[in-house]
Amino acid sequence: MRTVYNKIDQITGNVVSLKAKDVAYEDLAVIEGERGVSLAQVIRINRDQVYLQVFAGTKGISNRDQVRFLGHSMEISFSENLMGRIFNGSGVPRDDRSPLSENMIEIGAPSVNPVKRIMPSRMIRTGIPMIDIFNSLVESQKLPIFSIPGEPYNTLLARIALQAEADIIVFGGMGLKYDDYLFFRNTFEKGGVMHRSIMFAHTAADPVVECLLVPDMVLAVAENFAVQHSKKVLVLLTDMTAFSDALKEISIIMEQIPSNRGYPGDLYSQLARRYEKAVDFEGRGSVTTLAVTTMPGDDVTHPVPDNTGYITEGQFYLRRGWIEPFGSLSRLKQLVNGKTRDDHRSIMTACIQLYAKCKEAREKQAMGFVMSSWDKKLLGYGKRFEQEMMDLKVNISLEKALDRCWQIMAEFFEPQEIGITEKLINQYWPKKNV
């Protein structure tokens, strides 16, 4: 029988401290009081003084509440039974079904040995041309979606979940609006992917620090499905800025010296430890991570997007409702887009260059200059390109999207104007109906 402690010495923010013995670092504890039961984790031990981070927050906790240590760190049940289930930020079921307790696994386990990694080589098709053609998503890639708060990033994430080629989807919501949580749940159910999805949802109404465990639980589950069951797992996280803000809160309460805009000095390491879980396991499955990072004030030099950019393999910028072609980058696309169709790379370059020229023409137009016939072609092209390729509602296969690019270009330009080699033009240039 484990000792039960009845005296909490100090409650500050979401941290409580008490005197206890035989407690290990990062162990879990259960605090029971009038308000119910909440989970807590050891975040500092100084002689017999133990500091606990209370996931459900400390509101209503009294200094006479009971504290019981569980003798292990955070664990989560791992089995096929997880499929279709929804949990909250502490790993408690959110779907009125019974909790799972078989085959408990550790979360936040050590990193993959770099020499066991392999070069990513398989593309994940999403049916979204702006991703498939221009910034292909690659298995085992980690990519953030940089977005200002008003953009439809959750809609995009849900669409990727429905359309991407993946065996299992593990979703982690942090600081989600309750509406957004319902939106994801309904979309997954209606889209028929719920049976192969696992959701961990922390909503904005839940205590802030409860979201700290979400990425670790999500990634532990994902990693085990990839290694043990050789599954192709797609991890979706939204929003990593909320996660970072929770880190900030705890570090300030623990009187750590903040480094940049209040964020702790180890923000980079904290984020990297999670993002680096995206791995292609040789001979087994893989983990691919897409994570929304909202940029406060559309400022990419804000510590969260800035540190993220140094960690991830590219980024998608979501602006004005579509994936911005400039600035968005998939660092791994070169590894896969040579193997799809021989015109993929040329189309990728040509379309973006023409679109860039179209933007210049628009600027000229805005300043009141006379539009030349070439400018008019560009303007027409740009409009069609935005409507038929960039719009996030477009859902077509890569091949169809490439064909559509040819058609749009053929409508406005002569073959020699688009800067693609003759060989490809001869093969793909749409024959005009005479």
Binding site: G108, S111, N113, P114, I118, Q256, G265, V279
Partner: protein
Amino acid sequence: MSEISGKIIAIYGNMVTAEVDSKVKQNAVAYCCKSRDGIKLKSEIIRLRGNEADMQVFESTRGLMVGDTVEITEDLVSVEVGPGILMQIYDGLQNPLPQLAEECGFFLKSGVYSPPLSESKKWHFTPLVKPGDKVQAAHHLGWVPEGIFQHKILVPPYLSGEWKVQEIAKEGNYTIRERMAILVNEKGDQKEITMSFKWPVKIPMKGYAQRLLPSEPLVTQQRVMDTMFPICKGGTYCIPGPFGAGKTVLQQITSRYAEIDVVVVAACGERAGEVVETLREFPHLQDPKTGKPLMERTIIICNTSSMPVAAREASVYTAITLAEYYRLMGLHVLLLADSTSRWAQALREMSGRLEEIPGEEAFPAYLESVIANFYERAALVKLYNGQTSSVTIGGTVSPAGGNFEEPVTQATLKVVGAFHGLSRARADARRFPSIDPLDSWSKYTGAVLPDKVPSARQILVRGNEVSQMMTVVGEEGTSIQDFVLYLKAEFFDRVYLQQNAYNEVDQACSLSRQEYVFSALLGILQKEFSFESKDQARKFFFQLQSLVLNWNEAAWQSDSFKEIEGKIKELLK
């Protein structure tokens, strides 16, 4: 060895405090023994106060308890040096990662350590001294073949004074644990020498006759570096840049094409994926100088961002110590550290846990001196046998928000000999390598027409002025002379400073080719042109540019090289 033990009294992140009663050395290695599962975690003592020792643990401290035992050793955090380091892939504490993978599979496991050098492999030893010879620290006792090099067996640099060789092993095959020599000094002390020895990473490995001024250029085959902002063997340089500016690609290219004997790649707190590229490609890439796989001249120290932070701090020192060891063999070594900012962040994390008074952006106040001490370990030296050898350090810096005013960039700039600043604007415009030709500088003298470089730079500066002016007054308001200057600057930037890393020929540009092309281009830059209109001027430079770009992609002195050169001359008539 007598082991001292203590008891853990506090745990906070990866910092553990223990109570000890006996003699403890600063920076000594200690092991925290988890009573729960018996796993021992390696750590380093970083502060002593009364009988409390603060330690940074190189692994996750999850599961440690107050009251757990700490075993404290006599050794400082060290590396073991000897034959077999080349081609290896180590973590920050010199554990060979391939061995760990064999033992533990996909994931690293805490508390699992592996000896850095093979103890069973036999090396063919050839003595260089005979009994009765007088030797001192860092003298060569003999050599074994290691890949393409003669790996010298050294008198360990920690031995001071003069020693006499009493016994030396005959030519033959030995393991690193066998006795190779017995040395005695005047006092009659005897030392048994094996092929390997341990060296504490935070203490520079000296053992050379004297330090020299770096003067011989280190050729990287990247035009903008070799011509405009050269680096020297034994010098230092830094590459700060925002994310996406191509720091790592630049480091990778340098590690491939630099004309140097040994390359130490220290992947410190960066993406694991990038190391994988090096790991998977280097064994298949050929070193143009020797025809052997590049891997044979490479040592990789790999402590990527998700590996324990404290080991990240050690990894940079591990790398420099291995580089210094190979320097004592008469080799020229290049250390590429990517990225020193992550290393500085590791220092910051620890400093925060130690509750030290912070400096700017919470970095510790001693940040500058730590960075300076690290870069000062680079040097061109003369060995006792008269050979010169060197360690060159090239470190990337990842400034927060791409702002060079931050403490790590500034501290680094104070101590390096060359600054290759990468700019986001250039990277966005796909101008690679994105080294900013206006902001960067080098204190070294290059090998490519150093007298002429300032005039080329002058044109870049003035071209930039014109281009800024043009954004205000438009093309119409610019005189044709100024406009031509602008075109010249753009032209030189496009065809010389930029280099196509994906083109087989253009990715590496030899020194003689650089001299030839640079002087040809200089002729163009200094030539007076008279154009009737700006459009004509623009058209002319476009034509010239596309010719020179093709020229860059033609093999040096090949037929097509000469043919294109003819066309260029024709156009210039």
